[in-house]
């Protein structure tokens, strides 16, 4: 039905890019609900040092395939009209956005449930790694706890 699409963008996902994607759905007048998840880089304190950025790397070919499977699964399980997934690669500073999931459906339940499930799968199934970088350029590999 759909083809694997690149989900990666270099650097942060900007609010302007998000606005552009939202605005793009203005002519899809069968949509009644959009659900959006945004992952933002936190300035966590780890061992008395503050995270200033995360550097993301990925096994891109596998991640794009995984994202494709997540996407196809979502379209099969939910009545979705649109679905967009973007993930950052490279440096994303604290306060900037590194993950964008956007689902659209006629009624809200499908968009909301699909978005939540997709975020969960992205965190668990996408071969992406974040390296938390501190003020002093020291770094530590991120561990997902949430």
């Amino acid at each position: 039905m759909h083809k694997p699409k690149n989900i990666f963008v270099y650097g942060p996902i900007t609010p302007d890019k998000i606005a552009e994607i939202i605005a793009h759905h203005n002519d899809k007048t069968n949509i009644g609900a959009h659900s959006i998840f945004l992952g933002q880089v936190r300035a966590d304190r780890i061992n008395n040092k503050t995270v200033t950025a995360i550097e993301y790397t990925a096994y891109e070919e596998m991640a794009i395939q995984s994202a494709y499977e997540i996407r196809e699964g979502a379209f099969e399980k939910y009545e979705l009209i649109c679905l967009h997934i973007y993930h950052s690669l490279g440096i994303v500073k604290a306060g900037e956005i590194s993950l964008f999931v956007f689902t659209s459906s006629k009624h809200r339940k499908h968009a909301i449930d699909a978005c939540e499930e997709i975020v969960e799968k992205i965190k668990n199934q996408l071969p992406v790694w974040g390296k938390e970088i501190f003020e002093d350029n020291d770094s530590v590999w991120k561990v997902n706890v949430d």
Binding site: G39, H87, L99, W129, W141, K142
Partner: protein, 83 residues
């Protein structure tokens, strides 16, 4: 002749595994099962001893008793931390 060709495999490393191996890609030869691969890694990269990772073959995560197809792309994947 076919039976004299070497089984060349591409081994990719990511995240902490790549950092510990100090490389992100290496060519390895004549390994036919994940068990064999794991034994080879233990010998060649003792610095991975306490590092957790999954193994993907041709972009699918596999179990320890899986076979490795001729010419496969193998990847060592520490726990994912995207998002």
């Amino acid at each position: 002749m076919e039976n004299f060709k070497t089984n060349k495999l591409k081994l990719l490393a990511f995240g902490l595994v790549a950092e510990r191996m100090n490389l992100s890609s290496i060519e390895i030869e004549d390994i036919y099962t994940v068990n064999e691969l794991q034994e080879w890694i233990v010998r060649a990269y003792p610095q991975l001893k306490n590092v957790k990772y999954s193994i993907a073959i041709n972009r699918k995560i596999v179990k320890a008793d899986s076979a490795i197809p001729w010419g496969a792309e193998i990847a060592l994947l520490p726990p994912f931390s995207g998002g």
